[in-house]
Amino acid sequence: MAKRIGVWIGISLSCLLLTGCWDRREIEDIGFVIGVAIDAVADDERVTDPIVKDGAHQHKIYSITLQIVNSSSMLAGSGGGEGEGKTYTNITTQAETMTEAIKYLGARMLRTPFLEQLQVVLVAEEVARTPEFSEIFDFFVRYPEIRRGTSLYVVKGEAKKALNAAPESIRLPAFYINKISENTKHSSRLIPTSEVGNISESMLSQRSFTILYIVPGKTDVSIVGSAVFGSEDFRMVGTLEGPEAEARNLIVGETAGGAIPFQAGESIGIYHIQNVKTKITLESSNPEKLKFKIKIKTEGLIHEIHEVINLNSPYEVDKINASVAEEIKRLAELTVKKSQEELQVDVLGLAEYLTRRHPRLWKEIKQDWEKGKRLFVNSEITVEAEASLCSTGVTNETRAR
């Protein structure tokens, strides 16, 4: 009898456990956050949120926008019929930290923000240029729901705007931004994406890094280059735009294809890069006067050439190769000059090269690389380029000379 009572007590107690599912989430109650935009707030624009306020705010305040999927209208839309309203909602609040912003917004929209589907984080240039950027970045590395593969972008002007700028056929702007960065990677601009994980690794190893720099238009977003972040306090120091960004990626060897316009006779031709091999060598390891040689070797093809040239002739091909190499060298030197003189930040991957290949030397000069004695700025960097053609399209000449 006593045994039976014991069993019953056990069963009733376990009921207490069974009912408690603390983390139960109904899919209707989840707000899938797919994009985050962080903007600066000017002093006169400070709004006192009723939930936030206790009057003691001394820290920097951000305007944080979340893009949340309207799951009900997404479902209606996929049925083929006319979707009801928009497929997403952008909702903004002012807060000191990401966590607070998410809490307020969650309370406001009656849904629990869920960040595992987060696609893009957009940071306004104004925020990126302050040292606080690395502070608010902490959340994206620390919060368990966020993947390290989430992409980051620096937005010219207001970051919020980019979350609205999408062509009409696009249902979710956050996905759209990610898609264009993927596409440009394979076509012309050859800029690698910048992900939370990579940026965090750069910050931890005290290296400078780049983040894609985008400009929102009315109905689209364009990628214009990369924002450069220094290793001193991890804030944005400048940008590499267009060809400079391309050349930088050639130097670092992070290319998935790109186009180099070159002088072909009197007119222009376009050289598509298919393969890049970059070799950096340290020619003089005297810390006071470091000497680097960067050798860029490319393989590519021609899809367009405005001059009539007999491409069957090895002599002409050599001439094109030389002209392409000349152009690559010019661009690379431009970028080297910009990074040494204007940005004063090593975007060329030399620090990384030194850590990997000359760890002893690096240990010595680490503190004086970009700061202190500024050895990077004072080092001598020469560029060599070599280009070769592997295809010239399907025809030789397209018109008679």
């Binding site: 456990l17 603390w22 983390d23 368990p144 390290r148 931890l204 290949r357 002893r360």
Partner: protein, 366 residues
């Protein structure tokens, strides 16, 4: 078909059981602890060296078992080093393994809460886990072994799926610079990583279940070999995908690795949840081993008390112990000290048995 005794473990299975006893929570944090110690991407050398040492220890363990096939450890040990000393060792082992059990309970709760159940109280997660472990340990010993044989392919399978899908994200340059460690750091790293092999001792306690065979030492070494291989792979992937500095800073790099893995097609988006769910099986089996061995040890010292009473006595104590650390950092700290004690005790005991066995053996023959 080869017929074998249901109540025995085949030599082949021994390898798998040894491997599954060693794979547990430590693989999740190993890349971090090793990189922290070695400070460069050369941590794999430390893992390799410690693995080779463990292969040697496994061989020694096999030598002890092979001399007394089918014997109970109490009998072997009492004969070799005397009843009193055996009981002392057993009680020490029981205490340490119980602490280890507590740490495993806490780690499970901690990790599950960190990555999955943000709102569920840790106490509840840990309690549920403990109850399941108790249920399993209450069964027959051989059933635990069989359960491990079923789990092992799943565990290794999911691990390889994770590695396969993180392959495209490896940056091999992260492994450079090679061979830039300082010897003292490497030594420290070896010390840290050798602790991840601490489960090997269980096969000594389960020795009486193993079918007599000359292959035993080889199979135990094979089990350790599997573990070395897996540890090396996971380390290289973590550093390759995450980078040295991130590996050093992220608390549970192996789960972060699983988080990074992407299955093309976008249908299965969150690999880490499947990975972790399966990996709980590995942690579960280490916990079951720990609880079962604690009861086995106490039972052999105090023979009057039933097994069930021991289990129901130990589990609540371990559960309460597991709730003592106040935060994650303390759990990691306590965990490593419990493992240090367990590991050194295991190695000492193995060597004591081996040496006395050799000595007595020589006297017997000579």
């Amino acid at each position: 078909m080869k017929v074998y005794n249901y109540n025995q473990i085949r030599p082949y299975d021994t390898a798998i059981i040894v491997a599954s006893a060693q794979l547990g929570t430590s693989i999740l944090t190993l890349p971090r602890t090793v990189t922290e110690a070695v400070q460069t991407s050369d941590g794999w050398i430390a893992i390799l060296i410690s693995g080779l040492i463990m292969l040697f220890v496994s061989w020694i363990l096999g030598q002890v078992l092979i001399q007394y096939p089918g014997w109970n450890l109490v009998t072997i040990s009492s004969r070799l080093i005397g009843v009193k000393l055996t009981q002392l060792f057993f009680l020490l082992f029981a205490a340490v393994i119980m602490c280890y059990f507590a740490i495993v309970i806490r780690m499970t709760g901690l990790l599950t809460k960190l990555y999955f159940f943000e709102l569920t109280p840790l106490e509840i997660i840990a309690l549920a886990f403990t109850l399941v472990v108790v249920y399993c340990a209450a069964g027959t010993r051989i059933a635990i072994m069989r359960l491990n044989l079923i789990f092992m392919p799943m565990i290794i399978g999911i691990l390889f799926i994770v590695l396969l899908f993180s392959w495209p994200q490896i940056t091999w340059r992260n492994m450079e610079p090679l061979f830039t460690f300082r010897w003292t750091d490497l030594l420290r790293g070896t010390g840290t990583s050798i602790l991840s092999y601490n489960g090997f001792i269980i096969i000594l306690f389960y020795g009486y279940l193993i079918q007599a065979s000359p292959k035993i030492p080889r199979k135990i070494m094979m089990g350790t070999g599997i573990v070395i291989f897996i540890y090396l792979l996971v380390f290289v992937f973590c550093v390759g995908v995450l980078g040295v500095h991130t590996t050093m800073n992220v608390y549970v790099p192996t789960i972060e690795l699983a988080k990074e893995a992407e299955i093309p097609g976008g249908f299965f988006d969150r690999l880490q949840s499947i990975f972790f769910a399966v990996w709980i099986l590995a942690i579960f089996s280490s916990a079951v081993f720990a609880l079962d061995i604690t009861t086995l040890l106490l039972q052999s010292v105090f023979q009057k008390i039933r097994k069930m009473s021991w289990i129901l006595g130990i589990a609540p104590i371990a559960y309460l112990l597991s709730m003592i650390p106040r935060n994650n950092q303390e759990v990691f700290e306590w965990g490593s000290s419990a493992i240090v004690v367990l590991f050194s005790l295991s190695v000492t005991y193995t060597f004591v048995l081996f040496i006395t066995a050799k000595w007595k053996g020589r006297r017997r023959h000579g």
